[in-house]
Amino acid sequence: MRPGGDLKEHRPKADKALTPSRPASRTHHLSESNGQYAIDLHEVKKVYRGKVHALRGIEMQVHPREIFGLLGPNGAGKSTLVKIMMTVVRPTKARGTVLGRPMGHKPTLARVGYLPEHHRLPGYLTGRQTLEFYAALAKVPRAVRRRRSEELLDTVGLSEWTTKKISSFSKGMLQRLGLAQALMNDPDLIVLDEPTDGVDPVGRRDIRDVLLKLRDEGKTVFLNSHLLSELEMVCDRVAILVQGTVATQGTLDELTAESQRYEIVIQGAPPTWISEYPSLRSKAEDGRSRLILMGAEPEPIQPLLDRLRGEGRTILSVKPVRETLEDLFMRAITDPETGATLQPGAIAGGKGGRK
């Protein structure tokens, strides 16, 4: 089986796998999580060597059983935040919990799986040895290690590479193995830093499918990625980190609510009665007219459609439109006052940056 092969019995529903859609209805509330977040961060600050303010007071909540996407430009502090949660980096100041226990509580990490960015697995180990080694560090019992390593190698499409030294693995294969490693302890929370880095399109789809399946099994997935389209396809909620602070967070529906609209394209010039509708705008283009009605609800457009039909207008298309994640991202990293793109990177001396 080639590394980019199918995931067989572990593949989630085919329709999801082929056209992963954003689960708009999966908006979580505190009541769903019994008042407890999977990740609940407050005032997380990190100052490197007293000069570089990598994080400047992060406030972030991740609900249980959701895929949460963390995005931001290079140097925004995403990896630092992930490393703080994983106890790889020590925060300058932090409050908060991970899986209900104080952040940094080592025993809780037995319930967390982590795939770091640019991870380096020991080249002298085979695929199975790698998984069993890291599982042992996570205190997974010996019998479970053997069984789960075989299952997960199959899940990530590496079942035929079980006994091969990983020094011979391609980048994509190592990424799949890294993902399997993060799942060896059957974690409740999976933290993945750029999991699709270096993975081909087929592999990316496979990884997306695994993430969706994990969520369906009740796991919480925390995803850090540059690939906005990837995140858009799988994430229930996102946070955008800019210059060490959370610029915005929520479901995509929440974050794009202001920009949601319906666009009706009709043949001919715009109707003369447009001014009767304050929220309706029109735009003429090549013998056609585009009528734009702000709002996410479909009811307000029904009388418009009736009126257009009553006038004998030809309706070419009616579609709901909203900002993409990329639009949202670009909006977040743009200075609202100057319109300029905020400079990437952490803040030296804690001055300047996003206001």
Binding site: T87, V88, R90, A110, P141
Partner: protein, 378 residues
């Protein structure tokens, strides 16, 4: 325990993948083969499986000296030269990269994200890294043990004491190696500093040995002067009691010799006092530093605990049988006496002192390394 065993197994797999591990093992095999080629028959000793033969009635099969010599060849030459020097350098080259590689970006992240404290990770990794030496020395000792048993029916289990001793010796150096490795995260820096540190210990010990030898020699000369002075004072007293005139040539010569000897003695004593001023700080430095040579030397001490004869006595032929049939050192010249005194002085330092002070040094270095490891962001 699961975590420690996992790290131990990982260390074994890492070593297994290194060519140098197998090269060192192969050379060890050749050394053991050479050791096994030494044999004893009814007329003396042979080497290279009988290719050369040395006739010596004292080194015959089943003789006490042949057993002592065979053990001493192991503890003095093979252990002291091959294992304590050449194999150690190769082991350092082989294991220096373990910590810097372990701390590399992307490698350490996964380990630290596991439910194991950083202190445990550090010490488990450190202990597991000593596996290189443990395995090499264990296999080597097994070969030597079999050689001794098969060649001389001398099934000497104390040979296996070399495993903890060599591991201890290596751990003194490796602790420094790990400290620098954790601090700099550079394999080359760690290796160079460790070798420099080792050279520093060697130089300190060599300087102390030279100074101590000179001092001992001068003390012996002063003792000789004292004996001469006592003898001359007795002679002078005799002349006085015999009422030999003070200006007689015999009495005047004796008086001059006495004064000259006293003057020599005083000059030597001043020199000894001066040497002592240098010797003391070196001794203090030695007391703090790990006792690398002395730790290795413990095996030789343990293997010949029931005799004062050493390998140099045997090779120099300075061994005789007394009336009771026991082997004893023959009375030697001044050099031999200096050696004896230095050896006696060295043996006043107990096994626990040698190992204890060295381990104290290692503990301090490791705590420093652990502190850096625990506090660092990766």
């Amino acid at each position: 325990m699961t975590v420690f065993l996992a790290m131990l197994l990982d260390a074994y797999r890492q070593l297994n993948s290194k060519k140098l591990f197998w090269v060192v093992l192969a050379i060890s095999g050749i050394v053991v083969l050479f050791y096994g080629s030494i044999g004893f028959d009814d007329t003396g000793m042979s080497m290279f499986f009988g290719l050369t033969h040395i006739e010596d009635p004292m080194l015959t099969r089943d003789s006490f000296l042949s057993k002592l010599l065979y053990r001493s060849i192991f503890s003095t030459f093979i252990l002291g030269l091959w294992l304590a020097w050449i194999a150690t350098i190769l082991a350092l080259i082989s294991t220096t990269a373990i910590f810097p590689d372990f701390l590399a970006d992307g490698a350490i992240d996964i380990v630290l994200s596991k439910p194991v404290t950083r202190v445990k990770v550090f010490f488990f990794k450190y202990i597991a890294s000593l596996l290189f030496v443990v395995l090499q020395v264990a296999i080597f000792c097994l070969g030597v043990f079999l050689c001794l048993g098969l060649r001389l029916s001398d099934w000497e289990w104390r040979i296996f004491a070399a495993i903890p001793l060599l591991t201890l010796f290596y751990s003194y150096l490796y602790s420094v190696n790990v400290l620098i490795g954790v601090w700099s995260r550079s394999t080359l820096t760690a290796l160079l500093v460790t070798l420099l540190f080792w050279f520093g210990i060697f130089s300190t010990n060599a300087a102390e040995t030279i100074v101590n030898r000179i001092k001992t020699q001068m003390i012996m000369e002063v003792e000789g002067n004292d004996r001469d002075i006592a003898r001359m004072e007795v002679s002078l007293g005799g002349l006085q009691s015999n009422q030999v005139p003070a200006d007689s040539p015999a009495r005047a010569n004796l008086q001059r010799s006495l004064e000259s000897t006293r003057s020599d003695r005083d000059e030597r004593q001043v020199l000894i006092d001066k040497i002592e001023r240098w010797h003391k700080p070196v001794r203090v430095l030695q007391a703090i530093m790990p006792k690398t040579g002395e730790t290795i030397g413990l095996l030789d001490r343990w293997l010949r605990r029931d005799t004062d004869i050493n390998i140099m006595d045997i090779l120099d032929g300075a061994v005789a049988v007394d009336e009771s049939g026991r082997y004893r050192r023959t009375q030697g010249d001044e050099d031999r006496e200096i050696e004896r005194r230095l050896e006696s002085e060295a043996e006043t330092r107990s096994d626990w002192y040698i190992i204890g002070t060295s381990l104290a040094f290692e503990a301090v270095v490791l705590l420093l390394g652990c502190s850096i490891f625990v506090k660092r962001d990766y």
